[in-house]
Every structure is written in C-alpha cells, then in structure tokens.
C-alpha cells in the first residue's frame, strides 16, 4: 500500500462520492421516462418530450413529457374538482396531510438530496444539509398554518386553484415554498417545475400519493416557458405564483393583467453584501462564501455586490482571495465539494458572457490559481465555472447592475455608512442585503435603510419557514414563508361575492378657464394640491362637474401627466413622513379627523351638490371622520412581529411603507372612498398621489383645506383631479411610484396591472368590482394594512 505513503505526502482529501445507486434504480423503475402527475397518477410519457441531464457529468437522466394545452387543461380540471372538498376540509385534516408530507420528505431525505444534486448540479452537502431539511421544515410549519387557518385568518378564504411556476435553482425547496402555504390555506395546485430540473418534483408527487394526499390537490406538470404561459393564461387559476427572472416576471404581470388572478412574483436581485470597518472580517469572508458561492451563485438573493469600507478593503480582499484558493469545485456528489455544477451549458455561456463583458468594461478579474484546471479531465462533460472576484467595479459597471446568476462577485468600496447605504440601494432590484458590523448601531441603521425585503445582519442566505421572504422594487412583490406568506394564498372572503361597479362616466370636455359654471352663488376656484401648495393645473384647463341631473355645478382643474410628475416628486421629497414615529402620524390623523368634523357642514353641502341626499351626505362625512380616527388608531400599532427561527437568532418582520403610493379613487362614496384609501396609506407611513373621483371631485378637492390646517407636511398627500384613466396611466407607468391602488373600471384595472410591469410596482385594483365603503371590513379591513405596507425581514444572530 504505497497509497498511504503517497497520501501522507500530499495530505489530499481524496474523493468521497455519495452513492447514486438508489436514484439510478428509481430512474430505471420508471424506464427513464416520466409523464405528468395529474389527478393522483402519472400520465403516460407521450410524444412531446425533453431530455433531462446531470450537469455534473452531462449524462442523460431521463426523458420527460412536456405539457401542452391538453395536459394543462387536465391538471387544471383535476385541481378545480378537488378544490371544493379540500378547501372545506377541516384545518386539522389538512394539517395531517401536510404533516404526512413533511414526514415523507424526512423518511426519504437522502434519496431526495441525491436526486436533486444529480438533477441540478448543486453539491450534495447543500441538498443534504440545507435544501431537504428546509423542505421538511416548510411542510411541518405549514401543517401548523392549516390547523390554525380559521382561527388566525378570520374573514379570509382560500384564493382558489393556484398555478405555480418554479425555477431550477432550488427545485424541491421552491416546490415546498409554493405548495405548502397553498395547501395549508385550502387551495389546490398545479405546479410546473423548471425544464432543467423536473425530477425532484416528480419524486415528491410520488411520495405525496404514497402519503395519501387526495387526488387532484397537487398536480405537477413538466415543461418550459410555453407550458408556463399556458398555465398563466388558463382561466381556471385564481392565483399565479412565480419565482424566476425579472424579465419573465414582467411578462407574467402583463399576461395576467385584468384577469382578476392574484399574483406573487419572486424575481431577480443584485443584493449588496456590506462590510463595515468594524466587522469581523474573517466572519465576513465566510459570509461571502455562503453568499455568492452557495449553489454556484445561482441564488436570487445571492450577495453578489460586495461593498467594503475603504480602510479595510485591501485586508478583506486579501483574506477573501486566500479563502477562494481553498474552495473546491467539482463532482456535485463528492462530499468534499463547495461548488458543484452550473445547471446547464446555456447558463455557463450566460455567465461567461457577463464575465467577459465585465473585463471589457475594465473591471479586474481574479480567480484562484487552479481555475484553469476546471473542466479538465473527469470534469470535461460537466458544467463547471470557477469562483470569480471582480475588483475595480464601479456602480455604473454592468457587472454591478445586472444579475449574473453564477459564482461571480463584484466588489466595490465605500467611505462612510451613508455612502454604503446609497450604493446598496443604487439598484433596480431590492431582494436582500447582508450587513457585516460588530456594532449594533451601524448594523441596524443600515438594515433599516435597506430598500430590500430581507436583510441579514452578520449572516447571509438564511431561510426559515417562519420568516417572510420577498422583494422590494423590481425583485417582485408578495412574500413567501411565515404569516405574511399565508395571505398570498387567501383573499378577503367577501370579494368572492363582489358585484361589478356601476358603469362610470368620464368627465366632460374641458371648459375654457374663463367659462364659469351657471351655478348659484360664489364658487371657489378649486385647485390641485401638490407639495403642500395649491397649484393650477399644467394644462390650464378645467372640466365641468355636474350634478345628478347633468347640470354643471362647478369646475375642477384638469390635471395631466405633468401634474402627476410634479406630485410624485413632491411625494418622493416628503420622506420625513415615513420616518416619523407612528405616534407622530397618529396625532396628525386625529387632527385631520377633528378638522374634518369641524367642517362637516361644508362637506355635507358639497356631497349634496354632487347628488347625495342630505342624510346620505351626513352619513358619509361621519363615516369619513370615523375612518380617520380608525387609521389614527392604527398608526402606531401595525407593529410587525419577532420570530425566533433559532435559539440565538431573531428574525424581525417589520411592516415598512411603500413610501410613494398612487391612488386612483372610485366614483362611489366620493369623500369616504377617498378618505378610506388615503388615510391607511398615510397612517402607515406612505406619501400618496391621489386622483379623486373624476365625476365627483369636489369634496376631495376641498379636503386640501383640511390637510392644510392639520399639520400634514407638504407632499404627504398630493391631489390631482382629472380623468382617472389617463392619470392612472401616468401613475402606473411612473417608475418612482412603488404601489398603485386603482378603483375604477375593469379596463382601467387591466391597464394599471399591465403598466405596473414596468417597475413591478405592487398593484391593487378592483377589477371593476364594487366595494361597500361603509362596511368596516370592506372599507377599513386588514386588507388595507397589508396593502399599505410590505414586510422587511431582518435576521440577526447574536451571542457572546
């Protein structure tokens, strides 16, 4: 045995491959051919098929059927048929099913880990220690939500049949993230796996069937983007959930616009990894390993932009390069591998192109000394890419702006904490951020200022079923995991019976400014309200406001896109409002209520002029005062939550405002609807640009007098009257507006959803359906709080 002697010289690790025998046997049992899992059984593979390869060695693993219209129809039908029974099953019964799924995953943990590694190329260490345990955890956690749904979510109902489309980077984990909450809430599912990685979903389907999950509750189809488009366009689905690229997310937003489908998008990112000079640098170096060399960097929330404080940058990068030398790239089944195979040759090409572009743009590339050996010998048929570091990157560099989705880190430096935050937020994305500092103040200050849905302090890429995950800005909307994730699979129960709104008219042709109304008595000149000042409309036109009989009773300023632009700028500038304490905002809200009440008579008269009976006008003003008080009450109580995913870990779920919200008001209840929308938005820290009812704008335009006298800072509420549809079009297309609430026609709703795809703002539209603004649930329910804020999850490990 000269072998021992030679090892004693090199002290190498050798190879330690995980056995693939059981997975190969499973593939063989299926003759290497898979259909879809529909209505509790596998379909025959059929003709339309695609091949699935092991990216670690290029070998074909299986042929898998591709779902077309017929298969998607069949799956949708099965899910629809199963919905009635599943959604009304007791929480305890659904919990037992979810619990059984969790146990199945645990019982077959190694099989699933090996299969996932062979299908995706990620190292066995990750599937074994991270992916699969998180999958089991997700089903256990959501078994709990199934049990608690009726108790914890009164007034909410399951959305319906869900179409779910998952990516190839965490195939089984993304399945769990999608399927567990959907089933827990009482929905049924058609899930499409990614074309590169369909196998673990099929294995899971088999386990689910073994565990006795009722047929039709979970259906799995294989396919590519075409199949995905069929699902998204299918009328059976009430909810579409997608994880994938921002580009495809935009398409989905447009495709689902106006269909009434609920949508969540978990998209791309270019997440900052901030190293302050008071960080534990060695810890941060390991953080980088977990940030960008986890899963080959094919992680939407990968810390791909390192921002390092100048004073420690050189030292940090030296440590990082030394660490990179020790990384091992190779056979994903080898237990001593850090970085496995990239999912497919096409992805390698994409990474390579982006690396070449970065070099061409002048960034300095660094790879470990052994990078040249990659892809040689036994690796020749695998998809391998070395860990790569770019320095000399500028914020304007493409590599600093665009997602690579590979093991490539772009490093930049900063001088001050303020600059770190500015650079970190200088991205169209906002998925995650990782902050390294041993100073509590530095870390929390940065965490709070990140425009990102997940912030990890002194840690990175941590996930747990109890902690929400999802993006700000063009990283998408909606949350997965935790309580917040459950809402994404439910709708307010009353909406299931909502009726269409009466058809609304559009305002009459503008009048020349000189032409006054043929009214009785002196009419005030109404103006727009922008940045705390009354403003004449940019157009220089007014339009007639008529009463129920069509008589002109007043004129309203005809706002246009430039007025919206000015209003958004004013709202953007009024950031102090979002930083104000809830207590401070509450006082302003109470003051507003008082002042509205003091002028109740004026508002009743305006409502009466627009056609309300005196009693109805009185009731509406009273309700509006009540609503302001209601939201004053909430201003300092929409607190978020503290969760403990581990003994020495806090995960804080903070409800943060969207900051700038566009609001398009309906025609019904012209004052109450206006107040019902503006009040929660502002109470919870947003600044709004609101277009009042175009047909009945008087009370809302007069409301500026109340705003002016109630200490509302300029720019917090901006009022632009005019044609709702054209103004909504400008708001929806405005990239500096983070959310848009639209209450008008079905067509307008479709337009807003479609155009919101530009910056992927969160759109809340009524789809032309009516809402009883006087009803406490419909007019001020939990839905408003959820729509006015987005959850930021801050993870902070601690210990000494």
């Amino acid at each position: 045995m000269n072998e021992i002697r030679s090892i004693l010289k090199t002290m190498d690790y050798g190879v330690a491959p995980e056995e693939a025998t059981h997975v190969l046997a499973w593939l063989k049992k299926h003759d290497g051919r898979f259909g879809h899992f529909i209505d509790g059984a596998f379909t025959k593979p059929g003709k339309a098929q695609f091949a699935v390869h092991n990216p670690g060695n290029g070998e074909k693993l299986a042929d898998v059927a591709k779902a077309g219209r017929v298969e998607v129809d069949a799956a949708a039908k099965a899910a629809t048929l199963a919905f009635a029974k599943w959604s009304t099953l007791s929480g305890a019964a659904r919990a037992r099913h979810l619990y059984a799924l969790a146990r199945q995953v645990q019982k077959h943990a190694r099989f699933l880990a090996v299969l996932e590694t062979m299908d995706n190329g990620k190292p066995i260490r990750e599937t074994r220690d991270i992916d699969v345990p998180l999958v089991a955890r997700h089903f256990y956690h959501h078994a709990g939500w199934a049990e608690l749904r009726d108790e914890e979510f009164p007034g909410w109902a399951p959305a319906g049949v869900c179409g779910q489309i998952i990516p190839w980077n965490f195939p089984l984990l993304m399945l769990a993230w999608k399927v567990a909450p959907a089933l827990a809430a009482g929905n049924t599912v058609v899930l499409k796996s990614a074309e590169h990685t369909p196998l673990s979903a099929l294995a899971f389907a088999e386990l689910a069937a073994e565990a006795g999950l009722p047929k039709g509750v979970l259906n799995i189809v294989n396919g590519d983007g075409e199949t995905g488009a069929l699902i998204v366009g299918h009328p059976a689905f009430a909810k579409i959930a997608f994880t994938g690229s921002t580009g495809v997310g935009r398409l989905l937003r447009r495709q689902t616009a106006g269909t009434g489908k609920k949508l969540t998008l978990e998209l791309g990112g270019k997440s900052p990894f901030i190293v302050f000079d008071n960080a534990d640098l060695d810890a941060a170096v390991e953080g980088v390993v977990d940030a960008i060399w986890f899963n080959q960097g094919e992680v939407c929330c990968a810390g791909s932009r390192a921002l390092i404080q100048e004073g420690v940058a050189e030292k940090f990068l030296a440590k990082l390069r030394a660490r990179m030398e020790m990384l091992r790239v190779g056979d994903p089944l080898d237990k001593s591998v850090d970085i496995g195979a990239v999912v497919a040759p096409v992805q390698i090409e994409s990474i390579r192109a982006k690396v070449e572009q970065a070099v061409a743009e002048g960034a300095t590339k660094w790879q470990p000394s052994w990078a040249g050996d990659i892809g040689a010998g036994s690796q020749a048929k695998g998809c391998f890419f070395p860990p790569t570091l770019f320095t000399g990157v500028q914020p304007a560099s493409t590599i600093a702006q665009e997602e690579v989705f590979g093991p490539v880190l772009a490093a930049m430096t900063f001088r001050t904490p303020a600059e770190a935050i500015a650079l970190a937020n200088n991205s169209r994305y906002g998925l995650a951020a990782s902050i390294w500092s041993q100073n509590l103040d530095t870390a929390f200050d940065a965490a709070r200022k990140m425009k990102a849905g997940v912030v990890w302090i002194n840690s990175t890429n941590l996930f747990d079923a109890c902690a929400g995950f999802g993006g700000y800005k063009e990283s998408g909307f909606g949350r997965e995991s935790g309580r917040e994730g459950m809402f994404e699979y439910m709708v307010p129960a009353w909406t299931k019976k909502a009726k269409p709104v009466a058809v609304t008219a559009t305002p009459g042709a503008p009048l020349p400014e000189s032409a006054g109304p043929a009214g009785d008595g002196l009419d005030r000149t109404l103006k727009l309200y922008i940045g705390g000042k009354q403003a004449r409309p940019d157009s220089g036109y007014s339009y007639p406001v008529t009463d129920a009989k069509g008589r002109v009773i007043s004129e309203a300023p005809l706002g246009n896109r430039k007025d919206i632009r000015n209003a958004v700028e004013a709202a953007r500038a009024a950031s102090g409002w979002s930083d104000l304490t809830g207590h401070g905002r509450a006082q302003v809200m109470y003051f507003l209520a008082e002042n509205l009440e003091a002028r109740a008579g004026d508002f009743e008269r305006s409502l009466a002029r627009m056609g309300a009976s005196p009693s109805a006008a009185k009731r509406e003003v009273e309700a509006s005062v009540g609503r302001l008080i209601h939201w004053a009450a909430w201003a300092d109580k929409h607190d978020g939550a503290v969760r403990g995913p581990a003994a020495r870990m806090l995960s804080l779920a903070l409800n943060e405002p969207y900051e700038v919200i566009g609001v398009s008001c309906p025609d019904e209840a012209p004052l109450l609807a206006f107040v019902s929308l503006v009040a929660p938005a502002m109470a919870l820290g947003n600044r709004v640009v609101v277009t009042p009812s175009p047909m009945k704008p008087l009370a809302a335009l007069e409301f500026l007098q109340v705003l002016d006298t109630s200490d509302v800072p300029g720019g917090v509420v901006n009022i632009v009257s005019g044609d709702r549809e054209s103004l909504a079009d400008t708001l929806a297309k405005h990239d500096d507006v983070a959310a848009h609430w639209y209450f008008g026609s079905a067509e307008g709703s479709a337009m807003v959803e479609r155009e919101s795809a530009g910056n992927l703002k969160a759109a809340w539209v009524n789809h032309g359906l009516a809402r009883d603004w006087f009803d406490p649930v419909q007019g001020q329910g939990e839905e408003f709080r959820l729509r006015a804020t987005r959850v930021k999850t801050i993870w902070t490990p601690f210990g000494v």
């Binding site: 021992i4 002697r5 220690d129 060695d282 810890a283 850090d338 020495r648």
Partner: protein, 342 residues
C-alpha cells in the same frame, strides 16, 4: 507570504530522506520576543455565530474516507502529544506511555498499511515536570521530544518566580518543549502588558526549548478574549499557542480553534513568523482528530498538518485511532483490547 515561499523553496533541499514522511523542513525562523503591539488586536471583535457556523460546516464541507482517512489518522498519531497529567503519575506509568509513543500501532497493522519500516511515532510525550527525567530516559534515542507542562499548571497561580523556576527545572532535566499556562486574570482584566511581560519572561526561561502557551480558553470564555490572548502570547514569543489544560469545563473546540488559528494567521501576515497550533482536551475520537486536521488544512494549508506546526494534546485518542485503522485494514470493527494500552 514571502516567508512561506522561501520556506517552501528550502523544503526540498532540507527534507530528510529518512523513513518518515513528515516533511522536515526548512528550519523555520523561530518566533522572537517582540514588543507588545495592542494595535494588532485591540479592535478585534469576533462574531460568535459566524464562527460557529464556519466551524460547524468545516466537517460537513469536507469528508476524508477510506485510504485517505487511514493516512490522515496516521498523521494524527504523528501530531499527537501523548499525554499523562495526573496526580497519580509514576515513573512506571510514564515508561508505559513512552513505550506507546515509540510504538503507537501494531506492526501487522503498519505492514498492512504499507508502512513497514516507517518510523511511526507520536509528536511528543507530555508530562508533569517531575516526570521529565523518566520520560527523557524512556525516550532516549527515539527522536520523540519530551514536553513538560510548567508554570503552576493547570491554574498558573503560583508566584512568578516559582513558575519561571519550574520552566528552568524542566528544561534542565531535558524537556524539549514547555507547555506554559497563562495567568488568566491578566487576560480577563485586559491587562495585556502584564500578560505580555510574564509570557516573555517564560519564553526567555525556555531558552532553546519550544514554548507552547496554554490560554485556558474554556476560562477566557469569549472568542474576542481568546483572539487577544493568542496575539499577546505570540507577541511575547510563543512558538505554539494551545487551547486548554484539559482541566477546564470546556476544553478544545472547533470554534475556539478557528479563532486561534486565524490569530496565528494574522500574526504570520504581520510579523512573518509561523506559529504552531495545539488543541488539547476533549479530543478523544478519531473523527475529532480528522476535524482538526481539516481545520488546519482549510485555514492554513498542508504545512500546518505536520508536527512542527500542529499537535493535538490527547490521552485517549490513540486508542480510538488504532481501532479505526484496524477497521480500515480488516473491514471488521475492532476492540480496544486488541491494541496495547498506553
């Protein structure tokens, strides 16, 4: 970094052609007693959770199996300070230990591993000062160094004069290595100047004998204190830094080791000297030894997988390694009785 390149270049020239595969190398420049430089450590603040996470994944990211595992376990024997530190130690007990150090593995197993004729021995034998003369005698001609604890081990609370005298006694009796304990109060109160001063005096007292500084990390508690104490000990001339006495409630752990190894890496970058590392206490199983070897390889590289820069203080570890090696050779799980006890 330049130091390393130079050493590697020398390595080939100086490596002995003898029967051991421990690369004996380049005579490394020995650490010197330098001034106290607080600026090298005072800003350090070690993050516990991140350190634990790295420590926990060291052994899940790397796996050493089959022949590689056998070879690594052989190396673990070579890096072992076979230790007896008990009140009932006698010359006879020390003789037995020394015999085991000379002959740590059954000849048939050595042969089966392809190591017939290989000079397999432990890194050192570690005893109390009073046992040094016996150990020296028992190990004569073996090339195995005698290590002695000193300085009022384990508490280190006898008067400094006596602690220094204890070192001089052990060295005088022939100890090649001295494992000193630091005065924990200096570290716990942050009196780094006092700690530096004492350790420097101890190093002086060691003379040619190599000095391992035991930090008693289980009593220092926080990782930041461990880092700072490591750095001060090295600045005061320690040749090795060592975790524990074996008498603390918590002895060597991977997170503590990670911090100490990072400290010696930083010291290497700043001062240019290669310092050795010795975890001790609680290392009882073969897989523990593998974990420490993985840590050394990952954080420091192959040079720190050799006895000149890496030791593990252990008393029960060897027995488990012998059983694991027999299992590798025969495919059968072994029993302790099949191997001569220490």
């Amino acid at each position: 970094m330049t130091t390393k390149t130079k050493d590697s270049a020398l390595a080939g020239a100086l490596a002995k052609t003898g029967s051991s595969l421990v690369t004996v190398a380049p005579r490394r420049a020995r650490n010197v007693i330098g001034p106290l430089r607080p600026e090298w450590f005072e800003a350090i603040d070690v993050n516990l959770s991140a350190t634990e996470r790295r420590a926990a994944t060291l052994t899940t990211r790397r796996s050493v199996k089959k022949a590689h595992q056998a070879a690594w376990l052989v190396r673990a024997i070579e890096c072992m300070d076979l230790t007896t530190l008990a009140g009932d130690d006698t010359p006879g007990r020390v003789d037995r230990l020394c015999a085991k150090a000379r002959h740590p593995l059954r000849d048939d197993l050595k042969a089966a591993l392809g190591l017939a004729g290989y000079d397999l021995k432990t890194g050192a034998v570690c005893v109390y000062p009073a046992m040094v003369p016996h150990a020296v005698k028992a190990l004569r001609g073996s090339g195995i160094p005698v290590a002695s604890v000193a300085t009022g081990f384990p508490a280190g609370l006898t008067p400094l004069k006596q602690r220094l005298e204890e070192i001089r006694y052990a060295v005088g009796e022939g100890a090649d290595e001295i494992d000193i304990v630091i005065h924990r109060a200096h570290a716990l109160t942050g009196d780094w100047a006092a700690l530096h001063d004492e350790v420097a005096q101890m190093r002086q007292a060691c003379g040619e004998a190599h000095m391992k500084a035991i930090l008693a990390t289980g009593e220092l508690k926080t990782l930041s204190t461990v880092y700072k104490a490591s750095m001060v000990a090295m600045q005061a001339g320690a040749d090795f830094i060592k975790t524990s006495t074996g008498m603390e409630a918590v002895n060597a752990t991977l997170p503590v080791s990670l911090v100490m190894v990072r400290a010696l890496r930083d010291y290497r970058a700043l001062a240019g000297y290669d310092i050795g590392y010795k975890p001790a206490g609680g290392i009882r199983q073969a897989k523990d030894a593998l974990a420490y070897l993985i840590l050394m390889k990952e954080e420091m590289g192959r040079d720190w997988m050799q006895p000149d820069l890496f030791r593990m203080g252990a008393s029960a570890l060897l027995a488990d390694i012998e059983r694991q090696l027999e299992h590798f050779v025969t495919g059968r799980y072994s029993s302790t009785d099949r191997h001569g006890m220490a």
